[in-house]
Amino acid sequence: MTDIAKLPPGPLGSSSQRAVIWARKNLFNSWFNSILTLGSIAALFWIIPPMIEWGITNATLTPSIEACREVTGACWGFVNANLRLILFGTYPYDEQWRPLLAMVVLVGIIIGSLGAVPYAGMRKWIIPMWLVGIPVIAILMWGGVLGLTYVQNSYWGGLPLTLILSSIGIIFAFPLGLLLALGRQSSMPAIKTLSVVYIEIIRGVPLITVLFMASVMFPLFLPEGVTIDKLLRAQIGIILFTAAYLAEVFRGGLQAVPNGQFEAGNSLGLSYWQSMRLIILPQAMRLVIPPTVGSFISMFKDTTLVVIIGLFDLLNTVKLALRSDPAWTRYYVEGYAFAAAIFFLFCYSMARYAAYLEKELRKGEQR
């Protein structure tokens, strides 16, 4: 029996009345929920005002140690004073417009490619964009041509380094992971074994180990006189590591596509690669968007581990800034909070993009 009187009223009444009804229904519908609600409100009152006081009201942006000593709140002046050091690391001060411009170009291509993914007609521009963009970024960062002074990549650092390591990591790890996933499903024993061994070994060791091997062990095996750049070795380490994880994500997606789809493609006279490209992968990829973006997010954050081989990524440049003057050292909370905010901005954008992409592709499906 439905008691009509107990049903919530429709969208009648003023908004405040509806808010009361909503709160009663969702926040105070049992004694346990009421306690939780009151407890949460108390906790928010306890946490938020001091945070605002520390971070905004009592804080200072003035980039001087004297100003910071006078306030009781956060010393954003540390970030303000060391902004360029934190963002660009040890890149020559007068040339720092170059990494800035490179970063703008890089973020531009990233946004351009991500925007093109949902639209079949635009996807063909993604690869040309990178083919043009990467040399432009390389020229800006390295220089040595077009009247730009040469900057060795051991001076690169900060946000550009983090962005370059992770975006180059993603664009190379993606196809490599796909090949490994296909290899693991291959009926050819040699390819299958190779893929399985590779995936399991890489997944069995921490990224720190891979980076350490790449930077310390690997050069020992190279012939005398041959050196491979440290940054490049770290980059390859990150690519190899991420590819192994992506391979398993992709394999999950491939297995979720019914075998009948492949057989149908095959019976229409399509080759293995045609079936994969046109039928299986579009379905598999749509299924694995959430875990793929998860891999990308964790890889973006994992790039901070390059600190152990002496590269100055965004997190390490904060440390560099803290040490630049002993007076600044005590403001590490502000420094790391700033780095955390930048990381959050990028990671959260990726997560939002994944949600958008899923929605866009489902829209296409229902058209």
Partner: protein, 272 residues
Amino acid sequence: MIPAENNLPRKDDFIAVHDLGKSFGAVHALRGISFSVPRGETMAIIGPSAAGKSVLMKCLVGLYAPDTGRICLDGEDVSTTGNETRKKWAEKTGMLFQHNALFDSLQVWENICFSLIESRKLSRKVARDHAVDLLGLVGLDPDSAGLRPSDLSGGMQKRVGIARAIATDPEILLLDNPTAGLDPVLSNHIENMIAAIAQKRGTTVITITNDMKIARHRYQNLAMLHDGTLQWTGPTTEIENAGNAYLTQMLSGSSQGPITMRTGKRQDQLFA
């Protein structure tokens, strides 16, 4: 009636299968299958579930390579997969899968004309018009061309699958349960269409069906599979005089006969 064992492939047979065997691990899906179909004729394959009917179809279309025996199409051996001859014949064959296997990521019309666009490089405009014609042929609204397979009902998906199978005007048409799940009016329409295709275009048709009425009255030849072996094959006109116990039971649907159901204790209790 020629007994199945002596039914060796003849030169003039368009589809000739000789002593075909296929196993999956320890399971013998097919054993010693031999039959033949002349060009332009139709054959129905019947048999209880798990008899190996779909596996036989997949061998014919080239998805499975037989372990033993031979398959010849128009005198050309296509027993091994992955070669040019096999690929050529795959392109001359249209197949409807049991579960349709429509491509979920593509629209209905793209599904139908997929191989025309990808393999025969037909323009998308021409392909779409062709797909709309085919949709009309299988009794679907032209507006459904732009839908996705997931938007269609089971019967509609089946008809899209049939449209896809005949889109390339194939020499061989393999249909795995084309009328399963369709109402009698529609299934009659589909069977008329299959017969017309066989007659007008000279297409050789092999159909798996569980509808004995359709098998007897709509097809020229019949093959009866049971437990991976061929129990009987011959013209449908000779069914009455076949005197084959499997065939008789299959046609009548009786529970008495050589085809047994594996019933567990619970079923016995249920029927007690």
